[in-house]
């Protein structure tokens, strides 16, 4: 019962002898006994990470049972894609994750290219890497705001989400869109960088670092944050395989697995990506890890800008995409999103529409199996912090 350590940390040892009574490893909860209360956190609640809800049974302010409910965002993207041509899938897939849509675009493009045997030109690969890494920065800044907000530090959330807006400005210059970009298409990317983009991006990196030093002083080094997050939601190394945990959640538990390093894609094999891990496994370790990963992403964007070729094709020779038929086959392409392994499984039957597309999001297990386990025995006031520290994103669960 790793979560009990959080109570222990605060000098409070939960008395498990009476509430709830355990039989065969399961808690016996009788709501009619008036010892428990059932409440819902979400779907409309500032403490949830999107349109999902957690059904809770609490004893006092301690959660004794939790169950995740999803379905508020189901838009049947996978079914819709089966009825659309390959190129028509792109306006759909970016909507699978709002803060970080580019990972979806990359995975779908790469899956189609893998099945069709298309090689993407060098410059387009660099542009894709830049786009992916920028989207990681945008997502981490939003997460940082969410984590601070979940602990009642709304000002930090406004700083980081405000800074994210400047990154969205860069996305707008680069792709034409702020939130959803539809930048990567089969064979390459849609546009080259506009004039002066690199200078503006370098300037923004400096401004972001300046903000992050403030965030470090007010959030990462804050004793209040430490007391709230240390010992909360501990993921043990054994849980990583058992629950299919990936990304920063797994790396904070000691599992050195980063797809950018282990299965490099686009230009990550030529970049200096470092494996950032921790062995503590609690919410504070995850916060520190993501903070360090954000710094690494800024380094990587800087490196990509330096190494970006000035000239070169941004699109491979492609057939007419309107009537594009892909040879039969199946593939799985994955990329490292800020939440972990994000992948697309695609099956083609040789026609001009995909036979089956499946989006594998990291939150699928983090927000359901893992959250339901880690939420038990914590205080109800810590649930929002726990959800954000797992970086749950409901749209990628429901698709």
């Amino acid at each position: 019962m790793s979560n009990l350590s959080s109570s222990k940390y605060r000098g409070y040892e939960a008395d498990r002898s009476k509430y709830p009574e355990m039989k065969n490893g399961k808690a016996v909860i009788d709501l009619d006994s008036h010892k428990y209360t059932k409440i819902w956190q979400g779907p409309q609640h500032p403490g949830v990470t999107g349109n999902m809800s957690v059904e809770l049974i609490v004893n006092g302010d301690e959660i004794v049972w939790a169950k995740t409910h999803v379905g508020y965002l189901h838009r049947a993207f996978e079914k819709l894609m089966e009825r659309r041509k390959y190129i028509q899938c792109f306006p759909l897939v970016c909507r699978i994750c709002v803060p970080e849509p580019d990972t979806n675009e990359y995975c779908v493009s790469a899956a189609m290219e893998d099945l069709a045997g298309i090689t993407v030109p060098e410059k387009a690969q660099w542009l894709r890497t830049l786009n992916l890494e920028m989207s990681r920065i945008g997502s981490y800044l939003m997460w940082l705001g969410g984590q601070a907000g979940s602990l009642g530090m709304g000002a930090i959330a406004q700083w980081t989400v405000g800074m994210r807006d400047f990154w969205l400005d860069l996305f707008e210059e680069m792709t034409g869109g702020r939130v959803y970009h539809m930048y990567m298409i089969p064979g390459g990317v849609r546009k080259d960088l506009p004039d002066g983009f690199k200078e503006r991006a370098r300037d923004l990196i400096i401004r972001t670092r300046r903000l992050l030093s403030d965030v470090e002083n007010t959030f990462i080094s804050n004793a209040l944050v430490k007391s709230r997050l240390q010992g909360l939601g501990i993921i043990t190394p054994e849980m990583v395989d058992e629950f299919g945990i990936v990304g920063p959640n797994a790396r904070a538990a000691g599992r050195g697995y980063d797809i950018r390093i282990n299965n490099p894609y686009v230009k990550y094999d030529e970049l200096d990506v470092k494996m950032i891990t921790s062995t503590v496994g609690d919410a504070y370790a995850r916060a520190q890890l993501r903070y360090n990963d954000l710094h690494q992403s800024l380094d990587l964007v800087s490196e990509i800008l330096d190494r970006m070729p000035e000239e070169g094709a941004i699109q491979a020779e492609m057939p007419n995409l309107v009537n594009w038929k892909i040879p039969p086959g199946q593939t799985y392409v994955k990329a490292e999103s800020t939440r972990g392994e994000h992948g697309f499984y695609m099956v083609s039957d040789g026609s001009e529409k995909p036979r089956r597309v499946f989006a594998r999001g990291a939150s699928y297990t983090h927000a359901i199996s893992v959250l339901e386990k880690l939420a038990v025995n914590i205080s109800i006031s810590d649930l929002a912090g726990l959800m954000v520290s797992l970086h749950t994103c409901p749209p990628e669960i429901e698709r």
Partner: protein
Amino acid sequence: MEQLIKKIKGMVHLRAYGKQRDDLHFVTVDKAQLEMILAHLKNYEGFTHLAFLQAVDLLEEGKFRLIYMLYNYSTNVNLGVNVLIDRDNAEMNSIHKLWAHGWQYQRELHELFGIDFPDSPRVHESFVLEGWEEMPPMRRDFDTLEYSNRTFYQRPGRSTNDPAEYMKEKIYKNYPAAPVIRRDNE
């Protein structure tokens, strides 16, 4: 990887093997031998990570193809274990004892494809479709248009137009020939 495939061949009836990339391989095994080979791959071959479990509806063949996508952290290889099951009365053994999050995928497949996994915890709970009483919607023969025509209604006063005809009538009426888009280099 070749050695592993040889080993699998020696253990079970390997129906098919395919290599998509150096780090992505697919094998197809019999339904009865699936649990055994998954347990072996997890416990002895290092494929400890279950990335996902999904299904493809092969309507023409009257089958479902299930894909168990495994990953080996030490060799960095993905292995998709495929198994074909009958589409009618589709049923498969549960893997929740091998991976604690396996029940989630099984619950999803039960709801969206109608594949039953007896003994899987919470498999009959609803996932995203609360109160759904129709055919499982991810099956290929689920008629989405018929369903939406039957379930929803057009708001009065709204009509749909063929975009090409509509533009011809409303926008390009005064132009005798179709408009030509000129680009910068023309």
